[in-house]
Amino acid sequence: MATRASAKIRIGRLERPALTGVLVREVVNFSSYWRSATFSSTVEPTIYLLAFGFGFGSLVSTIGGYDYVEFVGTGTVATAVLFSSAFPAMFGTFVKYNFQHTYDAILAAPVDTEELVTAEALWIAARAGVYGCVPLIVAMFFGLPPAWGMLTVPFVGFIAGYGWASFGIMAAGFAKSIENFSYIISAVLTPLFLVAGTFFPIDGLPQWAQVLAQFNPLYHCVQLVRDAAFGFEGWIDVYHVAFLVAFGLLMWRLAIFAMERKLVN
């Protein structure tokens, strides 16, 4: 190749211009599909909220001292975060890699896999933080009293969403075909979704299930949102945040590992 010593650009990791470039691509693309994304990310948890709130709520009026609608309204925030992060990350990543070949274009630019994965996760996490608030707002119409602590909910959604987005990207990185996602949805996401204290408290479950729930990021997200709405509980909430941050960091590194294996050979 032609040689010419030129002004070398800094060869760094996680450079801001690279992250910005990938984020700009997502934001510009979002302008063309925000309606459908917003629809699915908000309507689904709202349906859960209404169905459980009214259906189940007619049988049980209070759980753990809360109105059932308040209990479910705060719980489904975690559901909304999960639905708007893990699923778009899994399917979006797979489609962009396999069908649209978007990542080939991005990695031919001065962007590394680490930056690509990080920016994609940040973007999805930001969306999850916003969409996560929808059930809370809906629940307010059904009597959930507003509280200052709720202002932290977008941040909780962002942290949890970052972990789930990274989880989804990792799953797409390891998946051989789009059908592989069935295993992840059935065997991982559905159980975690049900045993998170969203629709019923986990203290009614057998001991082993309660222990397992402690390892469920969704459970920690649910607990945090509930405490944000009904009053923080000090160190326990710090522990919930720490768990979500650790989950996010672990999934982030695994997602980078999985995608590097897939994208650079």
Partner: protein, 287 residues
């Protein structure tokens, strides 16, 4: 060298692209052209050997090299729900063009690709030729020193192909260094200053199209037509007389017949071309 399991895609390829020239990688499908392209952007890491792009060592400094390279891939990976202009805008960010220069960079790319009046069209509304022009324009927004074009006209109509040739030629006239892969011989012949013929991951010949023709196929060829058995006989006889031959499917071409008037077989005379060289060097059958 690059291996995929037991398959060696690129092997002992010595590729030198002098600044300001257009080098064409010519080879049949599976010769290792696309792998070579991926090696140059570090999307593929060589198992052995040294790679230097624009003075940067790969893969360690590939990010710096990529900042000064433009890539138009073989597979269209435009964002199809975005407009022409939005696609270019995204790439001004990915290639770190400063805010003040973005507008001008987009305008210049639109103009270069003759897409100024389609700037607001969604990509999925564009014709195949326009999409390919946009793909090339996208690789030029940051005024790269080196442009990698992977099969720029594959699958396009002849008219559209000519448009793209004009675009590449204009780029060449501006002094941009171009590495282009193609399996269209005419494309290499028209656009490349230097052609590198690849086969099974190796370079089998390098030179200007004219030099390659003169060296390997001579000046004049004779085309002999006839039934398959007549062709087989003509081929055997020409070979026995010391000529190289190649099959074209409908005829036998006997090469290098200039200055052999007495011994030259009868048939239609024509100038030797790059296709003669290509088939001679990469084999008559693709395996």
């Amino acid at each position: 060298m690059k291996r995929y399991g037991p398959i060696t895609a690129v092997n002992g390829l010595d590729l030198d692209v002098p600044e300001g020239t257009c080098v064409g990688l010519l080879g049949p499908n599976g010769a290792g052209k696309s792998t070579t392209m991926r090696l140059l952007t570090a999307q593929s890491i060589a198992d052995e050997g040294e790679l230097e792009v624009l003075g940067f060592q790969l893969p360690e400094e590939s990010k710096a090299a990529r900042a000064e390279c433009g890539v138009a891939p073989q597979l269209d990976n435009l964002d199809t729900t975005l407009t022409v202009e939005q696609n270019l805008l995204v790439f001004t960010h990915l290639y770190r063009i400063g805010r003040a220069d973005r507008r001008a960079a987009i305008e210049a790319a639109l103009e270069m690709a003759n897409l100024t009046d389609r700037r607001d069209s969604r990509v999925d509304k564009l014709s195949g030729g326009m999409r390919r022009r946009l793909l090339i324009a996208r690789s030029l927004v940051h005024r790269p020193r080196l442009v990698l074009l992977d099969e720029p006209t594959v699958g396009l109509d002849p008219q559209v192909r000519q448009e793209l040739w004009a675009l590449v030629d204009a780029l060449r006239a501006q002094g941009t260094t171009i590495l282009m892969s193609t399996h269209y011989i005419e494309e290499a012949e028209r656009l490349a200053d230097t052609v590198l013929i690849m086969s099974h991951g190796r370079a089998v010949a390098v030179g200007s199209p004219a030099d390659l023709i003169a060296e390997h196929a001579g000046r004049t060829a004779v085309e002999i037509y006839g039934s398959p058995s007549q062709l087989a006989d003509a081929e055997a006889k020409a070979r026995a007389d010391g000529f190289s031959t190649r099959r074209t499917g409908t005829s036998i071409s006997v090469l290098g017949v200039e200055g052999a008037d007495g011994r030259a077989p009868q048939g239609e005379r024509r100038a030797a071309n790059l296709e003669d060289v290509f088939v001679l060097l990469t084999g008559e059958q693709i395996d």
